[in-house]
Structures are given as structure tokens and as C-alpha cells.
Amino acid sequence: MNHIISVMVENKSGVLAKVAALFSRRGFNIESLAVGTTDDDKVSRITIVVNSDESSIEQITKQLHKLINVIKIQKLQPDYSVQRELVLIKINTENKSRAEILEISNIFRANVVDVTKGTIMLELTGNSSKISAFEELLKPYGIIEFVRTGMIACSRGKKS
């Protein structure tokens, strides 16, 4: 099962490497990873998606807590949090397919961010399944590049 772990860390060099290395050392495969600053410039937030069973997740959470630069860890429940990824997709429009592509992108509420003679670039945010569905639909037109961020997530309601 996929788990979303949000790790607040001190914003110092080498911290991301320590967190990532801990996952591989304990035998976890990271499915997705996103890092960014927070409202506090001394703190960064790392959002990690891993596939594993419940007891291993507990162990990795405890091990993460042992890293000195880790301040706080949150396990985000899929139903009680909002998850988003961002994707940039560059598609071939040589064979006069631009209108159809625009139609699909309208349905998904994607944005056109670049157009050239033979290509179009779309931007879409959403959860994983929305992005994967979008990708599937666009595949037949010829995807030139597909760039996807790691997932970020935020718990619903007052809890932080």
C-alpha cells in the first residue's frame, strides 16, 4: 500500500541526503519525493510516498525520528488530505491534432503553457490518478516529454 509521509526537517545542507539514504538503507523504495521550503525559512518539508506494509512504515517513521535534523513527521491519510502533483507534457502536433488535444486538455482543465509550430506544452495539476488518466489519453498523439513532480500533500482541516 502507498503511504504518504510528510517530514519537516531543518533547512540545512545534507539533510535530504540523510533522509533519502535512510529509506534505501532500510530497504524501502521511494515512489515519489518532493522537497520545498515552508513559511519558516529554517524548515523544509519533504513529502515522500512509499509502498510498504503498516509495520514497516512504523519502523521507518521511528528511524526517521532518530535523524537529528528531522523536526516532525506526519503520516497523511489519503482520505483526510489533499494530494497534488504537477505535470508538464510536450506533445507532437505535426499531424494536425492540436484541436483534439486542446479539447482533452479543456476537459481536464489543463493549461497551455507553450505552443510552437509542431508542439504544444500543457500543464496540469491534480492527484496521481487524474494525471495518469491524462497521460493515457494523450499518449496516442505522441508525447515528446513528460515531466512530473513528486506528490505534495496537506492534511484537511485545522490539524497541521
Binding site: 545542507s13 519502523q59 521511528k62 535523524l67 537529528i68 523536526i71
Partner: protein, 569 residues
């Protein structure tokens, strides 16, 4: 305000931490620090002959004294030579601070001469590490390093200092403050859990205490002893738990595990309650995990929450350091006992004592060959509890653990988690510096001692009267034992007889060598060695076929022990 160099500041910070000794080895990227050491009055630098031994010596110093040990090395190969020692301290949760030199900040990342990414390399084997890129961070870094190393679950911390940072100037009186928002070790146990544990313990008909290194490192041995006697519960220890409870006590079942006593393993197997205190239920103790303590509920007390539930299922978890939790547990237990009287578990105690009588740790003492068990028993008879025993790794280590009855904490120093051959002698150097008034022995194997014999120089130069009890069997004995039992006696690369004259070797360094081949000479040799104020190596030519028993075969349940004379042939 006066300005001083980073390297002078480093020494100032170390003095403030109460550091007495730095075990180290110089090199290009620590010359500024060594230049400052040249004028240093308070801290003594001890020159080792290999950086690995600097880390082991710092480790031994820490284990013997309870203070944080310090070691130092240059960049590149100096740092990488420290690694085994750092990993060893990490596995056994020993507080050391390792300081390494680094190439200058502008050269980092360019593969410059003697550059190694030591913070990257040591990440998995340190509790924390630092690369100090700006001299103004140095004082706080040193302060944090010592704080992290010695609190919570102790462990090694490394500080990597580029040479330009060592040379940079800094205000002498800069204030250093610890700022660790993510580090808050839990020391006090949760009282509700402790109360629940006390009730469970009181009501248990077959409880055992299983104590580990955490009891020693928290200084909780007196509390443990009080609690065990108060509740009349037998005490088993891990290898690192030796000394947390007097092994001469009626309630002591000594060490459990692969080469533990049969009575300890039986007690763990038959108990219905195991109170694990500062132990991590390591595979060398549990044997086949699915068969381990099948009838028992487990109460686990540990300062590291990640240890609780890692290997075994726990009924009542208590996060806190052993000393604190035990003190609370004693109070709670007394309250129950005062109300209800002593718990009734005489039958269990009778059974345990019967096992203790039926399965003593022993060796065939009737032959003329020299038995290691005999030597260590004699040693114990002579020095009692007034010595610090360090061990190497292998059969020698297990014989030491089995036959040297230990009664005080910090007197049995052995590499548990990593099982590092060559740990014993350098750790005895650290222990002797830390405890100058104590006798320090290294119970050694002929293989292990050859990994570190260059440190004889360090001992002799510093006039350390360490005694090496060399159990010379001409074998890499422990490996040979496995080959004998599980690999059809195919002794691949484990018979190493006659390649070195150990007496001459120690004499070459200015120490004293004594050779003993007969049982009758053992006592005199040990007494003679003690009377000599110098490094002494006693080369005991022991029975080369002697094996360590009892033994649990790897992967077997711990109640199934091969015993002396009944091993598979």
C-alpha cells in the same frame, strides 16, 4: 575582543566539554589543529599507530568511564581508517566524538588530494555528523556533538573540519548555543505504563529480567539490582549487559544467547513474562525468532523508541532511560507489594535454580592440556572485581563472557554488535587512560591481536601496564568451530599456527612476554604479570581443539543447545 584560530577554538571547546584525552593521528589536513595541540596544557593527545585504534581507544575510554571519548584523524585515509571504530561504537551505542580534517571548503567536491566525503560515508554509522563550513558554527557544533553523543541513546558523532576553517579567525568569547529542534530524547518513562508494568510483573508467576547495555550506559545498575532483589526475579543479561547485575548473585542467570548459559536460555524460553531493559533483542540472543519466548509477554523498556517492537512483539512499551524507569518501577512495585505481600513465585525460582545446578558452564578439567576456561577462572580468582576486562572477538570473547563473573558495570568491555576483531587491545588502552588506578586486561585471541599489535607501541610509550591474556590456539578459532560443526571440518584458512612468536613480538616493542604451556604455570604467570609495571603479554598455548559450548546453532531455537561433549561429530 580577541580573535583566535578555528583550531584553537576547537581545543577551547573541547576543554569546556571536560575532554581529558584525544586519541589521534596527524596528517596534512589537521596540521593547524596539531599545531594548537603543541601548546595545549590541559588536554593530552595520545598518538596511536593506526586511526582505527584511535576510535577504539576513545570507545574503550567511554565504556570504562561513562564519559564521551574523543578521537581525531586527518582527511581522506585518516577518516576512512576511523570507520570500523565508529561503526563499532555505533552498534554498541557508545558516546564518542570523532574529529576529522577536511580539504579546504573551496576544494570540496573536486576530488582533491586526500579528499573523502567522510560525512557521507559515516552517515549510516553515526548518530549524527557535521561538516563545518564556517568557523562561526564551530563552537555550537562541538557543543551539540557532545550533547548528542552522550544523551538519549548514546552514539558516535563526527565533526569534519576543513583546513581553512581551522585557520580562520573567530571571536574568542563567542557564545555557543545548542539549537536542536528535532532532538528531544525521552528520559522519564510514562507513569501509566510503568504502573501497568508493575502490576503485570507482580502478577506474573514466571518472570525474568533481560538486561542489556542500556542499563550500564544509563548508570541504572543499582536500580536494577534493587528491583531484582525486591521482586525476586532472575536476571539474564546480554553480552553488553554484563556488569549491570552481579553475576555472583543467586538471581543471576548470566548471559543468554548463542553462547549463553543453558539456564538463561531455558528461563527465557519458559518464562511467561520477559522484562527487557535496555536491550534490543538481537538475533544472537533470540535465535530462531518465531520460537523465541513463545509463552511470554514482553515489557520493553528502552530509551530508543525505534528499538521497541523492532524484533519482538511487545505488550507494554516504556520509552525512557533504564535508570529513570527502574527507579519509578521500584516505587510502583513497592506500593503493590506493601499492600499485598511478596509475590508468590517460589516454584519458578526453584526450577530456575535447579537448571542452574544441572547445567553449569564448564570445561573438561581433567586433561593435561591448557583450557581457556581454567585460565579465565584463575584470572577471576586473582583479580576478583577489581579489574577491567576487555576482550577481542571470537572464542576468546565468549570464554571471557562465560567464565569471568562480572559484578560491576563498566568492567567488561567487548565488541557486541559489530563483533570487531582487534577491538580489545586499543579499547584497553582507552580504559587504562580513563581508569589509571584499575588493572586492565585484554583477553585476546591470536588472530585478533595481530590486527592491532602495532598498538603495543602506544601502550609502552605511555607506560600503560595493560596485561594481555592471549588465548593462543593457533586458529581463527570461532570460524574454525563453525567449520568443524557445520562445514564438515573443512578448515579453510583458519589454521594460522606458528607464524609469529608473540613473546618476541611484545618484547620488540619494549613490553614483557611470558609463555605458558602448562596448567600449573597459569597462576604464577598471572601474578607475575600483575607485579610488572609494564605492558605484559602472556602467551597461553591453549588446547587448539577446545570449542565454545554450550552453543545454539544458527537459526535454531535457543532452548536447543549443543553442550560440551555432545556436539555433532
Amino acid at each position: 575582543m580577541g580573535k583566535i584560530s578555528g583550531s584553537k577554538m576547537l581545543l577551547k571547546c573541547l576543554r569546556e566539554e571536560g575532554v581529558e584525552y584525544i586519541f589521534g593521528y596527524p596528517g596534512g589536513k589537521v596540521i593547524p589543529i596539531y599545531d594548537s595541540i603543541y601548546d595545549e596544557k590541559k588536554i593530552k593527545h595520545i598518538l596511536v599507530r593506526h586511526e582505527q585504534c584511535a576510535a577504539h581507544a576513545a570507545d574503550g575510554y567511554a565504556r570504562a568511564t561513562g564519559k564521551t571519548g574523543v578521537c581525531m584523524a586527518t582527511s581522506g585515509p585518516g577518516g576512512t581508517n576511523l570507520i570500523t571504530g565508529i561503526a563499532n561504537a555505533y552498534m554498541d551505542s557508545i558516546p564518542i566524538v570523532a574529529i576529522t580534517g577536511q580539504v579546504s571548503t573551496i576544494e570540496i567536491g573536486t576530488d582533491s588530494f586526500q579528499e573523502a566525503d567522510i560525512t557521507g560515508i559515516t552517515s549510516p554509522i553515526t548518530k549524527h555528523n557535521y561538516l563545518v563550513k564556517n568557523v562561526k558554527d564551530l563552537p555550537a557544533t562541538v557543543k551539540e556533538a557532545f550533547y548528542i553523543a552522550s544523551t538519549g541513546r548514546p552514539g558516535p558523532v563526527l565533526i569534519d573540519i576543513p583546513i581553512d576553517v581551522q585557520n580562520a579567525l573567530i571571536d574568542e568569547n563567542i557564545k555557543a548555543e545548542i539549537n536542536l529542534p528535532g532532538y528531544k530524547p525521552t528520559i522519564k518513562g510514562h507513569l501509566k505504563q510503568i504502573k501497568e508494568a508493575a502490576v503485570k510483573i507482580y502478577n506474573s508467576s514466571k518472570p525474568v529480567i533481560f538486561a542489556g547495555g542500556g542499563v550500564v550506559s544509563s548508570g541504572g545498575n543499582e536500580e536494577l539490582t534493587e528491583f531484582a532483589r525486591l521482586s525476586e526475579i532472575p536476571v539474564i543479561t546480554s553480552l553488553l549487559g554484563k556488569g549491570s547485575f552481579p553475576e555472583s548473585d543467586e538471581l543471576s542467570l548470566m548471559m543468554a544467547g548463542m553462547h549463553g548459559t543453558k539456564f538463561a536460555n531455558l528461563a527465557l524460553t519458559e518464562a511467561n513474562l520477559i522484562i527487557g531493559i535496555g536491550v534490543r533483542f538481537d538475533d544472537r540472543v533470540t535465535g530462531k525468532l518465531s520460537e523465541f519466548a513463545k509463552h511470554a509477554d514482553i515489557i520493553h523498556i528502552d530509551v530508543d523508541p525505534a528499538e521497541i517492537g523492532k524484533n519482538v512483539k511487545v505488550k507494554i512499551p516504556i520509552v525512557g532511560d533504564a535508570k529513570n524507569v527502574l527507579a519509578d518501577l521500584i516505587k510502583e512495585y513497592k506500593t503493590i507489594r506493601d499492600e499485598k505481600g511478596d509475590a508468590s513465585r517460589q516454584e519458578w525460582l526453584k526450577l530456575v535454580h535447579k537448571w542452574k545446578k544441572d547445567y553449569p558452564v564448564s570445561y573438561f578439567n581433567n586433561s593435561h592440556s591448557l583450557k581457556p576456561g581454567y585460565i579465565i577462572e584463575k584470572l577471576h580468582e586473582i583479580v576478583k572485581e577489581n579489574a577491567i576486562i576487555c576482550t577481542e572477538v571470537g572464542q576468546n570473547q565468549m570464554w571471557a563472557a562465560q567464565f569471568f563473573k562480572c559484578s560491576k558495570p563498566r568492567t567488561f568491555i567487548s565488541s557486541g554488535g559489530l563483533g570487531t576483531m582487534g577491538f580489545g587491545f586499543p579499547s584497553s588502552i582507552g580504559a587504562q587512560f580513563g581508569c589509571p588506578d584499575k588493572m586492565v586486561f585484554d583477553i585476546a585471541g591470536d588472530g585478533s591481536i595481530q590486527m592491532v599489535s602495532h598498538e603495543f607501541a602506544t601502550a609502552v610509550v605511555n607506560k600503560l601496564p595493560i596485561k594481555i591474556i592471549l588465548l593462543n590456539n593457533g586458529n581463527l578459532g570461532m570460524v574454525k568451530q563453525w567449520q568443524e560443526l557445520f562445514y564438515k571440518k573443512r578448515y579453510s584458512e583458519t589454521i594460522v599456527r606458528g607464524c609469529v612468536d608473540f613473546v618476541k613480538l611484545v618484547e620488540a616493542y619494549g613490553g614483557v612476554g611470558i609463555r605458558v604451556k602448562k596448567k600449573e604455570e597459569v597462576e604464577k604467570a598471572i601474578k607475575d604479570a600483575i607485579s610488572i609495571d609494564n605492558l605484559v603479554l602472556i602467551d597461553f598455548h591453549i588446547d587448539p581443539d577446545e570449542n565454545v559450548f554450550p552453543m545454539v546453532a544458527p537459526g535454531a531455537p535457543i532452548k536447543e543447545m549443543m553442550v560440551l561433549g555432545k556436539e555433532k561429530k
